[in-house]
């Protein structure tokens, strides 16, 4: 039998309060982001007053999970339902799907049930990230 056994070093433990304190200089409402990126709102119309100040961009969901960024915006081209499940587990408030891609109805329904805002833009990943960064959104992790 192969076995890995060990105690994780103390320094990588999370400390209380740290995760919710990634406040940036220029938070934006999701409504403002919708307008800026010319997005269609797929889910969470009633939550567009939610403010975000950090974003993470990735198509790999394990990469999103690798660093904590609660209440951040996820920018992705991955429209699989796992993008919504990842956002739920990672406590991510909202997703912008790029390149005109849209998730299926099952994913949209799951997002509604979990209170996750879904936006879709025709812009590509690079332009989406650039516009948001120029507007003061910080990168997360």
């Amino acid at each position: 039998m192969r076995c890995f056994r060990g105690t994780v070093p103390v320094q990588i433990r999370r400390e209380p309060g740290r995760q919710g304190e990634r406040r940036g200089a220029n938070p934006m409402t999701l409504a403002a982001i919708r307008d800026l990126l010319d997005c269609v709102v797929l889910a969470g119309e009633e939550r567009l007053d939610t403010e975000v100040d950090t974003a993470v961009a990735a198509d790999g969901m394990s990469i999103v999970l690798a660093t904590p960024h609660p209440r951040a915006l996820l920018i992705t081209g991955l429209t699989h339902i796992q993008s919504v499940r990842t956002a739920n587990v990672a406590d991510i408030s909202s997703i912008v799907y790029v390149r005109g891609n849209r998730p299926n109805a099952q994913a949209v329904e799951l997002a509604r049930s979990k209170g996750i805002v879904l936006l879709a833009t025709r812009l590509g990943m690079f332009d989406t990230c650039g516009i948001l960064r120029d507007s003061g959104i910080k990168g997360a992790g």
Binding site: M1, C3, F4, P16, I63, P70, R85
Partner: protein
């Protein structure tokens, strides 16, 4: 050992990509309902989600067991599956044996086991080729006092 305040078990079916993530969603909901610190919920959710995805992607079936005491949260994931031939390699970030189908779901980037270890205060992995793999993670609650 501290008294168990809660114990829940969940069955996960290998290859059931439609349900992949349901168990971690339930674990997360239970911990939120109990008023557990959001940072702990986040870590427990990531551990369970990654372990659950590993069962769905690689194993025939698995059982996720959540145990809560006043001192810690234990997440144990035992699967019936192929086992891991090279544990040291599997623990390296970026190493993956994932299929294209797995990558299309956003997984298979070689971050699963490292993410589980990173979010655990104590992490144990035991594997036997042709039999299965068992991952045990502990999150200590006293670090949040």
């Amino acid at each position: 050992m501290a008294e168990e305040l809660l114990r829940r078990s969940f069955e996960v079916r290998g290859g059931d990509f439609d349900k992949a993530g349901d168990t971690s969603g339930e674990v997360r909901a239970i911990l939120i309902d109990l008023g557990i610190d959001p940072g702990v919920v986040l870590r427990a959710g990531v551990i369970t989600f990654e372990a659950e995805m590993n069962v769905v992607m690689y194993a025939e079936k698995g059982t996720v067991t959540l145990i809560l005491t006043e001192e810690e949260i234990s997440i144990d994931v035992a699967d019936k599956g192929p086992g891991i031939p090279d544990v040291d390699l599997a623990m390296q970030e970026g190493y993956s044996t994932a299929s294209d189908e797995m990558r299309e779901m956003g997984f298979g980037y070689g971050m699963g086991l490292p993410n589980i270890r990173k979010n655990s205060d104590v992490f144990t992995l035991e594997t036997k080729i042709g039999r299965g793999t068992r991952i045990s993670s502990l999150i200590r609650l006293d670090s949040y006092d």
